[in-house]
């Protein structure tokens, strides 16, 4: 009977030991929900900037300064980027290295 009990204790301890394993704290804090800046292709930020600016300009065209820019919506993006890229640099800080 005692042998059975001893085995039981050993088994229980083993189960416990296996459930305890220190987590690797470094691995855990890597954000899986976004693109790691270390490995990201920074060029992929450019389309966001281009479309963002063109959208702003289109909005200006239909809103505040209607008439200044009468380019159709689809056209607005590529046309404006050349003119406005300077502004985007200011607004996106570290991304400037791309340009």
């Amino acid at each position: 009977m005692y042998i059975i009990k001893n085995k039981f204790i050993i088994l229980l301890s083993l189960v416990f030991v296996f459930t305890i394993s220190c987590r690797d704290l470094d691995e855990l804090n890597i954000n899986p929900n976004g693109v790691d800046p270390e490995v990201a292709d920074l060029n992929l930020l450019l389309p966001t900037i281009i479309t963002g600016i063109s959208r702003n300009v289109v909005n200006l065209g239909f809103g505040d300064i209607a008439g200044v820019c009468s380019t159709p919506k689809k056209m607005a993006g590529p046309v404006v980027i050349i003119v406005m890229s300077g502004v985007s640099i200011v607004n996106h800080g570290p991304v400037t290295t791309v340009f």
């Binding site: 459930t19 987590r23 570290p94 991304v95």
Partner: protein
């Protein structure tokens, strides 16, 4: 035979364990000396049952034994003069001289005050309260279920010093508990809950709702707990008490122990049933005296006869007076033969909101449990069901809780135990708060001249019956905007306890807390802000936390000195994931009434998911020293390694020390003083941060044609973040006198919270909007006082009174260079800003140094003439045209603070024979709140409170005159120099209304704001009631920008609980085969008094959901009726 030996052996060892838990260690290997053997039975005076585990000691020696499971003992004594000492935790000790007897049976009397002296402290360690160097508040389970609440936290309001509990809304809403004041600027300051060792975080941020302006509070995690299964609650208030919990203990810890089978109790079945009706008795005072409209026409203004059409779309309550026999074409007017609407009488429907609501809210909580204790197994199985329907039609809340607690001996010295709780909480519809889909908003906004019941058949599709395009149908919102949720939560533990020797024990445990929640919103076509067939969305979130812990304890007693040392380690792991699919706001569904994700067109679909993980590894140690039962020293230390912090800062050490000194043991204070304890504690704990707060990743901005787009966040993260660090110090004294009939506890504490994790703004030229940093120092100071007494204690009568008092003030001592304040929220022209102490700016309080108190509210003061040489100095300087009323300065002034000055709770329990009458009062004094409802209803001119505050000039009304001006000047203190200015005049001549003309019709419904107007050349034009005064229609009289107008004192007194219970005499109960039968009637949370909220807002509900949290101090359409609950409770035990 051998089997029996083993069993006996096992039994003996069991009693050793019990003995150990009684904190007094004896050797059972009693040496047989000489003399007599005394035997006997120890029973409890309460129920006459045998008491197992009672220590029976020969006085003046180490010899002794422990009673067995039926209370029997046997002990060898020296001679007839030997004295036996019987002691047992929770009972008065008895000393009996043996004399000539060989059989000594005794009854032990329960020590009422001593029972509460054992408290559960950090890591579930039971300690005698007198040995603690810090304040621990405790609430027994029966206190929590005497009057049952959906959320057990509500049952603690008013009972504990140092704790602020606020219900944010109707039953089922989140409940906030803040211990010793808010000390963190970036978190919601909620404590950590630990249920049977399982840590449960309960942020008040479970706010959701899909669709435009559909904001729903789904209740915080802690609301899943079943009050019926709680045995006791300990609140570790300060870091001293909580330091052992390390990282998450910064806001205190609430330790909950669930019910278990008691050793030797036998088979027990308990059934209880609670039913409570919430009967509304007070609603927000909407003005039903005037119909909807902009002008208060009377027949004489329009040449007699029928009034101009009354259009509900005006959305205001400044139209013709109701119930005066006036006639007009109104909404839903009958049509004549030509299809023309026919005028009907203008009458009021003052009970609109009451008619909209259900007659009563109804909650029932039924609970059953089976428990048993045998030599081999202790177990308790419990099941509780909660069903609740709210006052708002089609709102409900349900909960099923299943709990199992069991423990058994695997071997002589090895105990395994487990507690598992499985809960399902769900609702078919939680009514939305805030504005938009909130049915109450629109029930109140229904024009007073329209019978709300006409809206009950609200139609369907594009034909929702509405009084106008500017209104929503409250019945439609209640029934067709469904915010449902289902939340499963499993939490529990498996604990192994190995008593290796009487001195040394080892504990290992695995703790789990897992929740799965699905929230769905289904909005049918008809909500005007979701015009494309309504909307749909589903959000699923999962959360898991596991803790694996090992702790070894060594205890040793010497004659004057005893020592207990524990050391342990813990691994915490958390994982969360959520996925959300919904239609973008306003985009709606393809086919109406089909609530699937595929029924959202791809361009309109908003979809996202996220995951997060976190781990904290910890080691800790505790050492308790005691000397002559007089001096107790506790030292604890814990080191945490958190994954959310950078490797270099990840390791954190939290020490604590506390000292308890029993003066009554050291010097003789006479027999009147039972205890005089002095205590002091010092500790450090921290708050780490959430996962992934160190480095920004690029987000996905979605495809643009074929182009992949990444985005970079505008906020910077700091890779070198430190945890917040709270250092606390507390001093206190506990006094018990006159056989414990007078009790006093007083504590003074300070908490310095450093390294606040703050987002500070950055200049746009940096390319970022802000950065997260560690900065600042917040200092909280406060007093907690508890005075208890038992003025009456006779055989039949007992009266217990407990008074508790709490104050706290938290001051921002430091922030960081270039940052002088933190914005908490800004709403309804009021801002909650935390300025650093001593901040001086001309733009705030005219250059007065700021006190830095957290919770301060700021607003723009009324614009006044500032030129001291002017005869109009300090007169209100009005705006122009329709704004010829009070306007505001650009500067801010402090107008209040949302925290109370003090909180006082009073508990009274009076019992006579088997009757018990108890009540709990809760008084919050001081503090202010902003009522957004009051403001918006005033702007819509449907606020009776506002109308009643108009200044009636009496006979001087009706026309401008020099006498009127003189009257204004005579009353200048009230009409010009007061902080709370009100217009003169009103909607009809009865109110002293002044004439104004509108498209040729003169109506006497104008008011004017006393003051002066700028003439544009540096001079002033009087606006005091003489000719030249600008009269405005009543409908535009409310100064929208003046924040102080809608700021109210939050003081209130609530009767948290009142109950009358009757327990059947046990003889009677036993005759019908029961152990216990009790019945009670009760009520709860009745607003007895408010200083400033008579118009019908509950100041406690001054919490506005905003984003993922709550803004404290602002009430916004949180206008649940004041209710008078009536509850019944029936309990059986057999």
């Amino acid at each position: 035979m051998k089997y029996k030996n083993i069993l006996n052996n096992l039994r003996d060892r069991l009693f050793i364990v019990i003995g150990l838990m009684s904190a007094i260690v004896f050797s059972v290997n009693a040496e047989i000396i000489q003399g007599l053997t005394v035997t006997g039975r120890v029973t409890a005076s309460l129920d006459g049952e045998g008491l197992p585990g009672v220590n029976v000691v020969l006085k003046g020696s180490q010899e002794g034994t422990i009673t067995d499971i039926s209370g029997n003992y046997s002990l060898n004594v020296v001679d007839e003069n030997s004295v036996l000492v019987f002691s047992y935790v929770g009972y008065n000790s008895e000393e009996i001289t043996v004399g000539s007897r060989t059989v000594i049976d005794i009854e032990m009397i329960e020590d009422i005050t001593a029972l509460s002296e054992v408290v559960v402290t950090a890591l579930g360690i039971k300690r005698e309260e007198k040995s603690l160097g810090y304040s621990v508040a405790k609430v027994k389970g029966e206190e929590l279920t005497r009057v049952v609440n959906e959320n057990f936290l509500n049952s603690m309001a008013g009972k504990v010093a140092g704790v602020t509990i606020n219900s944010t809304g109707a039953p089922g809403s989140s409940v906030s508990i803040v211990i010793r004041g808010a000390s963190s600027l970036s978190t919601d300051n909620q404590p950590l809950f630990v249920v049977d060792g399982v840590p449960i975080e309960s942020s008040i941020n479970n706010i959701g709702g899909i669709g435009d302006r559909n904001q729903v509070d789904y209740g915080n995690a802690i609301s899943d707990l079943d009050p019926e299964s709680i045995e006791s609650v300990s609140i570790l208030k300060g870091p001293s008490a909580a330091a052992l919990y390390g990282t998450r203990a910064g806001n205190g810890v609430v330790i909950i122990t669930t019910k278990k089978a008691k050793k030797g109790q036998g088979m027990k079945v308990t059934i209880s049933s609670n039913t409570v009706f919430d009967v509304p008795y007070k609603l927000f005072d909407v003005d039903t005296r005037f119909a909807t409209g902009f002008f208060s026409y009377r027949p004489e203004n329009v040449g007699g006869g029928v009034l101009p059409d009354i259009n509900a779309s005006d959305g205001t309550g400044a139209g013709p007076e109701n119930d005066k026999g006036y006639w007009a074409v109104q909404w839903d007017a009958p049509l004549d033969a030509n299809g023309q609407p026919i005028p009907t009488e203008v009458v009021s429907y003052p009970n609109n909101v009451r008619n909209f609501l259900n007659d009563y809210g109804f909650s029932t909580i039924n609970s059953a449990s089976v428990s048993n204790s045998t030599e081999d197994l202790n177990y308790r199985l419990g099941f509780t069901n909660l069903s609740s329907t709210g006052l708002i039609p089609n709102s409900d809340l349900y909960r099923n809780s299943f709990a199992i607690a069991a423990s058994t001996k695997l071997m002589d010295k090895l105990t395994i135990s487990t507690d598992v709780n499985i809960n399902k909480t769900w609702s078919n519809n939680r009514p939305a708060g805030d504005r938009g889909t909130n049915p109450l908003q629109w029930a109140y906004s229904t024009p007073s001249n329209i019978d709300i019941r006409k809206l009950k058949d609200y139609g369907s599709g594009n034909n929702i019956k509405n009084v106008s395009g500017n209104h929503q149908n409250p019945y439609f919102l209640a029934n067709e905007v469904n915010n449902s949720f289902t939340r499963y939560r499993i939490y529990g533990n498996v604990v192994l306890n190995w008593e290796i020797s009487p001195n040394f024990s080892l504990m290992g445990r695995y703790l789990l807390n897992k929740s799965d929640e699905i929230k769905e919103t289904k909005i049918a076509p008809g909500y005007t802000r979701e015009p494309n067939n309504g909307t749909y969305g589903i959000v699923e979130s999962k959360f898991l936390e596991t803790n694996t812990e090992i702790m070894g304890t060594y205890k040793k007693d010497w004659s004057d000195f005893s020592l207990s040392v524990s050391a342990g380690g813990n691994i915490l792991y958390q994982a969360g994931a959520s996925i959300s699919n919904s239609a973008k706001n306003g985009s709606g569904l393809i086919v109406p009434n089909v609530y699937t994700v595929q029924n959202i067109s791809s361009g309109a679909l908003r979809y996202r998911n996220s995951r997060s993980e976190k781990a904290i590894n910890s080691v800790y140690g505790i050492a308790n020293f005691s000397w002559k039962y007089m001096l107790y020293l506790d030292l604890t230390a814990r080191n945490d390694w958190s994954s959310t912090l950078p490797p270099s800062n990840r390791s954190y050490f939290y020490p604590s020390a506390s000292l308890s000194f029993l003066l009554n043991e050291a010097i003789n204070l006479g027999s009147k003083v039972n205890m005089l304890k002095l205590r002091a504690g010092w500790a450090q704990v921290g708050n780490d941060t959430g996962p992934y707060r160190l480095v920004n990743t690029y987000g996905d901005a979605g495809q643009w044609g074929d182009a992949t787009r990444l985005t970079k966040s505008s906020g910077l993260l700091a890779p070198n973040l430190l945890p917040e660090e709270a250092t606390s110090f507390e001093l206190g004294t506990d006094i018990k006198m006159f056989d414990n009939r007078l009790r006093f506890e007083g504590t003074y504490y300070t908490v310095d919270n450093r390294n606040q994790i703050l987002a500070i703004p950055l200049a746009a030229s940096s390319g970022f909007s802000g950065v997260q940093i560690n900065a600042g120092l917040m200092q909280s100071k406060g007093w907690e006082i508890l005075i208890g007494g038992t003025p009456i204690s006779t055989n039949n009568w007992t009266w217990d009174l407990n008074l508790n008092f709490t104050t706290n003030e938290t001051v921002i001592k430091e922030l960081t260079d270039g940052v002088d304040f933190v914005n908490f929220w800004s709403s309804e022209k009021v801002r909650s800003i935390g300025y650093v102490e001593g901040y001086v700016s001309d733009a705030v309080d005219y250059g007065k140094p700021q006190d830095g108190v957290v919770g301060n509210l700021y607003g723009n003061p009324i614009k006044r003439v500032r030129d001291e040489s002017s005869p109009y100095y300090n007169y209100p300087l009005l705006g122009e045209g329709l704004d010829a009323k009070w306007v505001v300065e650009d500067e801010l002034t402090k107008i209040g603070n949302f925290n109370p000055d003090f909180i006082m709770g009073l508990q009274s329990v009076l019992s006579y024979k088997n009757f018990t009458f108890s009540m709990t009062l809760d008084w919050r004094s001081g503090g202010q709140y902003v009522s957004g409802t009051w403001r918006r209803f005033t702007d819509a001119v449907i606020n009776k409170d506002w109308r009643e505050q108009l200044v009636n000039p009496g006979d001087l009304g009706g026309a401008p005159s020099p006498e009127l001006k003189q009257w204004v000047l005579d009353n200048a203190d009230e009409l010009l120099f007061n902080e709370y200015l009100r217009p003169v005049g009103g909607p009809t001549p009865e109110f002293g209304g002044f004439p104004e003309s509108f498209s040729g019709v003169e109506v006497f419904d104008a008011i004017f704001a006393p003051g002066v107007r700028a003439d544009g050349e540096g001079g002033y034009i009087e606006n005091l009631g003489e000719e030249g005064t600008v009269f405005l229609p009543y409908v535009v009289g409310y100064p929208w920008d003046v924040s102080i107008t809608n700021l109210f004192d939050a003081d209130y007194v609530k009767l948290r609980e009142i109950s009358l219970g009757y327990r059947l005499p046990s003889a009677v109960a036993q005759k019908i085969g029961m152990q216990d039968i009790n019945i009670s009637i009760y009520s709860r949370n009745i607003i007895l008094w408010t200083k400033d909220s008579k118009f019908g807002v509950d100041p406690e509900g001054a919490y506005k959901p905003s984003g993922s949290g709550f803004s404290q101090g602002i009430e916004f359409y949180n206008v649940n009726p004041w209710v008078l609950p009536l509850g019944f409770k029936l309990g059986f035990t057999f």
